[in-house]
């Protein structure tokens, strides 16, 4: 049988700790014995009840070791680790994004508010945005038509929103080339602030139109970009969606 090589392998080995029989038992348990060694060992075990007991005690101890209860992982284990990690690297655009969109509290006072209002008015003036002063007469001042194209490419149908501010009106409709000048086909809907609005889907092209207030009063869009004579001394608004608005 192979002798114990432990003295030149393990620097901590104490030869008193393990005799030849211990050595054989351990190699038997690890299935390290050659077939001949194994046969001789089994015969020895059959003859020697002490050796048999020794082997059984070792095997039982190993089974019990493998069955020792496992320590459960605490619920906050992972969270505690993740808290200690460095924050993930930011993408290049994230600092810019956070500067632009981080909510801020700005101190203000009346002087600053007036200054801000002045700047806004200046911007409106530069952009030639019509500003309607409050309290003016209903149609000339409070009516406003907006034409909004949601699609700058004009190869397909275009969505156009018409808006007329007519707080006193009971009904508002629009008549034009797009609906055969039949006002009853295209009513506008009133909003809470007295605006009347409708969204039309039209094909690219030029359309003449007018608003019809309370079923009888034909009103020209005061802020249309283009007008044309109706041949009766009044003028129609022109909606041109033949190119991008």
């Amino acid at each position: 049988m192979t002798g114990s090589p432990h003295s030149d392998i393990d620097e901590e080995w104490d030869d008193d700790d393990m005799d030849e029989q211990d050595w054989l038992v351990q190699r038997f348990v690890d299935q390290d014995l050659s077939p001949q060694e194994r046969l001789e060992f089994l015969k020895a075990m059959d003859r020697d009840p002490v050796l048999r007991k020794h082997v059984l005690a070792t095997e039982e101890m190993l089974v019990r070791s493998f069955q020792l209860p496992r320590i459960p992982v605490p619920r906050d284990f992972k969270a505690n680790i993740l808290k200690q990690l460095d924050p993930p690297a930011k993408k290049w655009w994230q600092p810019i994004w956070s500067v632009l969109f981080a909510p801020r509290v700005m101190p203000w006072n009346p002087a600053m508010a007036m200054l801000a209002a002045g700047i806004l008015l200046g911007i409106f003036w530069l952009l030639k945005v019509p500003v309607i002063p409050p309290g003016d007469e209903r149609r000339a001042t409070s009516s406003e038509v907006k034409m909004v194209s949601l699609d700058s490419a004009v190869s397909g149908p275009v969505m156009v929103r018409l808006v007329l501010l007519e707080p006193q009106a009971q009904s508002v409709a629009v008549a034009g080339d797009f609906n055969g000048w039949k006002p009853q086909e295209t009513p506008l809907h009133r909003t809470e602030d007295g605006a009347w609005t409708v969204t039309l889907q039209v094909k690219p092209g030029r359309y003449h139109y007018m608003f019809v207030v309370d079923g009888q009063e034909w009103v020209t869009d005061p802020f249309a970009r283009e007008y044309s004579s109706d041949g009766f001394g009044a003028k129609n608004a022109v909606l041109d969606v033949s190119h991008a608005l």
Partner: protein, 196 residues
């Protein structure tokens, strides 16, 4: 906890972790928390501190993942960190206790060890639970080098090959340590049986 990952999934997760993906690292923690915590707890014999050491292990692993190469399995690499963390803890514990003059140096000239009291009494020994408890205490009384070898081999069920990679010690040396640990432990349990 302990979700099943195949090798490809794990490689993908490791790549994501190397790009500082915390969610991916969370999945690795789920997979290995139990194994790491149990190895450390058996080595240092203190469950509360074992949790801290296990957490330190994962934090160190996350920081070290940038240098992780697939020349060893991730579990082997992680266990190596865990074992080293546990040894650091034991050394620090030993130094502290030496300063306080309470614990002598460990047997066989090794690092000082944490002494575990022998709680055996004649009344104990009959039940499975008590036997398991005695076995746990007996494992804790092993010197650290034998304890770590025995725990990896017979509590965690590892092969000598993987143990050698984790502990950085040759297979033959590890076998000797396991043999010696087994002899001591089987004698302890034998004593128990005779006592019943």
């Amino acid at each position: 906890m302990g979700e099943i990952l195949d090798g490809q999934d794990e490689s993908q997760l490791i790549l994501q972790c190397q790009q500082q993906d915390h969610e991916a690292f969370g999945r690795l923690i789920d997979r290995y928390a139990g194994a790491v915590l149990n190895v450390i707890a058996r080595m240092i014999s203190n469950q509360a501190d074992a949790q801290d050491v296990a957490q330190e292990t994962f934090v160190a692993a996350y920081k070290g993942l940038q240098s992780f190469r697939a020349d060893s399995r991730f579990s082997t690499w992680l266990h190596r960190i865990a074992v080293n963390k546990a040894k650091d803890y034991l050394r620090a514990q030993g130094r502290r206790q030496e300063r306080e003059g309470s614990i002598p140096a460990g047997e066989d000239g090794e690092d000082p060890i944490l002494e575990v009291p022998d709680e055996r009494t004649p009344e104990q020994g009959a039940s499975e639970k008590q036997t398991a408890r005695h076995l746990e205490l007996a494992i804790q009384r092993l010197s650290p080098l034998y304890r770590e070898a025995f725990v990896l081999k017979h509590v965690e069920g590892m092969e000598y090959e993987e143990m050698a990679q984790i502990l950085g010690v040759g297979k033959d040396v590890l076998k000797m340590r396991v043999y010696k640990a087994r002899i001591k432990l089987s004698k302890e349990l034998d004593w128990l049986k005779e006592d019943v």
